[in-house]
């Protein structure tokens, strides 16, 4: 009764000297509430056990399963096949290193991104186990959480033309991360420190405002707004520096 779905899937196993980049076709009958997680798992178990792809939480939480779905980066586990046409083309995310088929190495990329932007609370004080916690306004906590919802899926990076052209561009995800720490009073970094990290062409001034990041982010993070805020802040910071009497 369900539709006959046709999958065009990119195939290549770099570890296998006999493997060449190509596209394989698979057919599957659609069932109710079928997600790409269900479909791909079935293809692997019933048709081709060598097919590589990544799923972990299968609930849109962990960011493992990002791939290019009919041209758009997205999370496969939260894509219902009923929202797609009967022909579905699946490709691995660009920018990241290919591991095989639909699987790419996001781990290495994100670790180095986190190192580059110093993705942690910078604070020289020692934790006092007996003291009450520092107070924080609930509204601020929620604001920080709003930006912390990023799952490092890499969709925004893969969708960004700048990141595709220029390897050294940190991408919207990194800029959003900095925005998160800027909000946080526990992080003692000042404007100057932040500027050093992102006030460059690899950082916020490299962004050309393509906004694909904003449009594909599966967690709907407010990337456009954060990029705008950062650009203004960093611009101000540079202006102030220009007019500062040395």
């Amino acid at each position: 009764m369900g539709r006959q779905l046709k999958f065009h899937i990119f195939r290549y196993n770099p570890e296998d000297t006999n493997s060449v980049p190509r596209t394989d076709d698979f057919y599957l009958e659609e069932t109710e509430s079928m997600t790409l997680f269900i479909a791909l798992t079935r293809i692997r178990e019933e048709q081709d056990p060598s097919l590589q792809f990544d799923f972990c939480c299968r609930a849109g939480i962990c960011g493992s399963c990002a791939m290019v779905i009919n041209g758009r980066p997205g999370l496969a586990c939260k894509t219902l096949t009923r929202d797609l046409p009967a022909e579905i083309t699946l490709m691995p995310l660009p920018v990241f290193k290919l591991i095989g088929d639909l699987s790419v190495d996001t781990g290495t990329w994100f670790r180095s991104m986190n190192e580059k932007v110093g993705s942690w609370i910078h604070n020289d004080e020692a934790f006092d186990p007996d003291a009450q916690e520092e107070r924080m306004d609930n509204a601020l906590a929620e604001e920080i959480y709003e930006l912390e919802r990023c799952v490092e899926c890499g969709c925004c990076v893969a969708a960004c033309g700048t990141a595709n052209m220029r390897e050294d561009f940190v991408g919207a995800v990194a800029l959003n991360r900095i925005a998160r720490f800027m909000l946080d009073p526990r992080d003692r970094r000042g404007e100057k420190e932040y500027f050093e990290v992102i006030g460059t062409d690899e950082g916020v001034f490299g962004c050309m405002g393509l906004l694909a990041c904003e449009d594909v982010c599966p967690k709907e993070l407010p990337l456009q707004d954060q990029l705008g805020i950062l650009r203004r802040k960093m611009g101000w910071s540079a202006l102030k520096r220009l007019f500062r009497v040395k």
Partner: protein
């Protein structure tokens, strides 16, 4: 960590920020100029007299003689700044081309349009400015004669949409890049901007037709 293990200290430089800011400012300046320019030239629609009077005014106050080359400089400066972003290497070009085709995402396409119209504008705009500025004064009659010659008609028919697209997209881009337009207002603003572009192209076309029909 308490111990700083970095072995070199990069002198914090504002270069990228200044260049980006300047790119935006030159862009914005050119937008303002182009809007005024289009309206000034379109004044011919009110009659050749109107255009001549305005042109005379600008020349008598030396705004054309001084402003013209200034615009030319801004134009060049903007080109130099924006060129930093244009993919000149074949490899990058093919990357962004494939990427845009895959993504089918309007704003990414718009950037490609912006970058490619820029190249046309660079060449045609320079020729145009040179022609007009070395043949002062500006009069409706001279303009009409040029356009009725045929070559300039084709020339403007190409340049006009290129410029308007570039300007329109640039306007939108400045607004979203600098956060003047937030995510909630983006869609509406884009519509507004599209309409604006169409209106300017229409005015331009009408102007060209008017030049065509103006008896010299």
């Amino acid at each position: 960590m308490a111990i700083d293990t970095t072995i070199y200290v990069r002198a914090p430089s504002g270069a990228s920020a200044y260049l980006d800011g300047l790119q935006m400012l030159t862009g914005a300046g050119l937008i303002l100029f182009m809007w005024s320019h289009m309206i000034l030239v379109a004044s011919v629609n009110l009659g050749p007299g109107a255009m001549n009077t305005i042109a005379r005014f600008f020349e008598d106050t030396y705004m054309v003689q001084v402003g013209g080359p200034m615009i030319g400089l801004t134009f060049l400066l903007h080109f130099v700044l924006a060129a930093r972003k244009v993919p000149f290497r074949v490899e990058q070009q093919s990357t962004i081309w494939k990427h845009s085709r895959m993504l089918r995402h309007t704003d990414t396409w718009l950037w490609l349009v912006q970058a490619s119209t820029a190249m046309v504008i660079l060449i045609m705009g320079s020729i145009h400015m040179w022609t007009v500025l070395t043949d002062l004064p500006i009069t409706a009659a001279k303009s009409a004669a040029r356009i009725q010659g045929g070559f300039w008609l084709v020339f403007y028919l190409i340049l006009l949409p290129m410029v308007e697209l570039h300007v329109g997209i640039g306007f939108y881009r400045i607004a979203v890049k600098w956060g003047l337009i937030g995510r909630k207002r983006r869609k509406g603003f884009k519509r507004f901007e599209n309409i604006l572009t169409v209106i300017f192209i229409l005015i331009g076309l009408i102007t060209i037709v008017r030049f065509m029909t103006l008896s010299t």
